[in-house]
């Protein structure tokens, strides 16, 4: 007998919300180019602008919204077009920031995964994420924003794992990705406090991003942001259940004492490599991950865990479990049973 598959990899991507799917299908019918001046084009334009206003409202964001193909592009746009050069990035940023970072300063994190706000008091562009994609650790972004602003800098916050779950931080540039909160893959946005922070490069989106807009994707993203969020309360207790279950069975919770986004937990199974764990869980139809999806194919040692001072062997035994809207206690219990069986007697 095979059990139905259990998806616990919501940090990689989330199921598309039915309402977002409906919005996307309706969007496929509004297929004219929003830049066309005829009536059909203007209808597409007004649908796009209406969605933009709804996204502003959902996020309580008073600044500008530039639609992109996702968070990677939004981060590349922010770093590439910001009028201030990139001064520093946290050591635990996603590769989408780190690979653009060149010789910008690396801001260390402590063993609980936190950046020191005082270290961020730098002029220039400072990039610190909201929630870490591997551990869920939440950075003290409001304190960091104050430090950056007092030093005359701008704060770029990668909020890919936080948007839809947490309040948008007091940052100047914010990257987000729809498919991390129930929207479709292939659309995201860069939030910009003030156009003066970016250099225009021509094209659509007021000259800040060229390319015909993905209207169906934008409509679905707007809907996904408006979805009710009561599942997050449940997620807190489900993640507690996970943490307790793993610890009781002889495992470790990464940054268990640190404030974390409730959807993500990172767990070490001593003596069993993450690769072996993933294969074992996959064979049982349980989808989890080692680190972020993009790097997990390679199963390299996580730069996030290394930055927190974890030894390579221990770091190589950590997997990520990420829960979502449809996850229930039975799912957590099924995962924990599989975890205990794989771990063996203590």
């Amino acid at each position: 007998m095979t059990l139905p598959s259990l998806y616990l990899d919501h940090a990689a991507t989330t199921p598309l919300l039915p309402a977002a799917r409906e919005a996307m299908l309706e969007g496929f019918a509004i297929w004219a180019n929003p830049s066309s001046p005829h009536a059909a084009g203007r209808a597409a334009r007004s649908a796009l602008e209406e969605a933009r206003a709804r996204i502003n409202a959902s996020l309580a964001w008073g600044g500008e919204v530039v639609f992109t193909s996702g968070a990677s592009e939004a981060l590349a746009l922010a770093i590439g077009s910001c009028v201030q050069p990139l001064a520093a990035v946290s050591a635990v940023e996603h590769e989408a920031v780190l690979r653009h970072a060149g010789d910008a300063r690396r801001l260390a994190v402590d063993s609980s995964g936190l950046v020191s706000a005082a270290d961020c008091a730098l002029p220039g562009l400072v990039a610190v994420q909201q929630a870490n994609s591997e551990t869920g650790v939440l950075q003290p972004l409001n304190a960091i924003a104050t430090a950056v602003h007092e030093a005359g800098g701008f704060l770029l916050a990668d909020c890919a794992q936080g948007v839809g779950k947490l309040v948008v931080p007091d940052a100047d540039l914010i990257a987000l990705s729809a498919h991390k909160f129930g929207g479709p893959i292939g659309v995201g946005a860069l939030l910009v406090r003030d156009w003066a922070m970016l250099r225009a490069t021509g094209g659509q989106e007021r000259g800040y991003r060229g390319g015909t807009e993905n209207l169906p994707g934008v409509l679905a993203m707007a809907l996904a942001l408006e979805a009710e969020r009561s599942w997050l309360d449940r997620a807190v207790s489900l993640r507690d259940r996970l943490d307790e279950g793993v610890v009781a069975a002889g495992g470790e919770v990464v940054a268990g004492a640190t404030a974390r986004v409730p959807s993500i937990g990172a767990y070490r199974m001593p003596g069993r490599s993450a690769r072996a764990q993933l294969i074992g869980f996959d064979a049982q139809g349980i989808a989890v991950s080692a680190g972020s999806a993009c790097s997990s194919g390679s199963l390299r040692t996580s730069h996030v865990l290394a930055a927190m001072g974890m030894e390579p062997v221990a770091a190589g035994e950590v997997i990520r479990v990420s829960i979502g809207r449809e996850t229930d206690a039975a799912a957590i219990d099924r995962f924990l049973a599989a975890w205990r069986e794989m771990k063996g007697p203590q």
């Binding site: 299908l25 015909t212 169906p216």
Partner: protein, 357 residues
Amino acid sequence: MIYLDNQATTPLAPEAREAMLPWLAGPDSSGFANPHSPHRPGRLAAAAVEIAREKVAALLPSGGQVVFTSGATEALNLAILGSGRKRLAVSAIEHAAVLETAGFADPECAILPVDRDGLVDAEVALPEGLGLLAVMQVNNEIGTVQPVERLTDRARAAGALFLCDAVQGAGKLAAPEGADLIAVSAHKLYGPKGIGALWIRDGLDLAPIVHGGGQEGGLRSGTLSPALCAGFGAAAELALQRMAPDASHIEALWQAALPLLPGFTLNGSAGQRWRGNLNLRRNGLDVARLMSELRDIAFSAGSACASGSGKPSHVLRAIGLSDKEARSSIRLGFGRYTRMTEVVEACTRIAAAAEAQ
């Protein structure tokens, strides 16, 4: 509404829409997974991406790889900026995505003129030390088909790369075989918006412009959408199957339209042209008034991207039209789903409204 703006974007083919649906799934199915995840649902999504990639590749020459992007603009940026070439030449009638990017990469970028017919001279002088030559396959505003075959030979002889913006030609004409880099967009060939591709000749190394998770062989980071890929793949497959019937349908529409538009003059060559593009001018025509009088007919006053700006078209100026002539020009764009009755009705009403001005 009669839609005659198929250069700006095309309706989504029902087949492409259908192909996307399994990958727009909720939690009751695994069709939402991240194709870069190594678990089973991730691998299934990755397989869908690879099947789509093969279908898109079938529209393009052999001996290269297809890298998915968010659209042609990103593909052209990746080609130009990623090539690292410093000495550039582009035709005067390229899309802004090429002109602006080439001007950014090489402020001294050579602009190759076109003749009154809207064609680049295949024997045009190329600058010394040329690194990259970009000439589009089919112009988006006037539909002229450029002599890319000869130009690819000349670029190669000069030691330069040849980049072809094939957005308007892909799925309609044979691929520009000799090119090194080819940019295409799904929503111009009845696929979804938000996806395009850059075809890269084997052996050519580009530097990425969007870094991150290292998807697409490190060339283009960002989670790929299996839905958009599958929609693009289905649209490409359909375009390949329907290339001949689509072309004859377009030819019939063109033949029917021209006699219905007396007093209009064609902009650009009639012969070297994709005939789904009827760009016309008429002395003294007030295009804004025409558009407001014919609100249920969707046509363009130039390229969609420039038409919001109120600037006269750089393409119409490049073929030697005065600003006044350019401003009295319209573009009617036919596609696979344009019906003969729609073309007859639209052209009859456009002619009557123009005559009455």
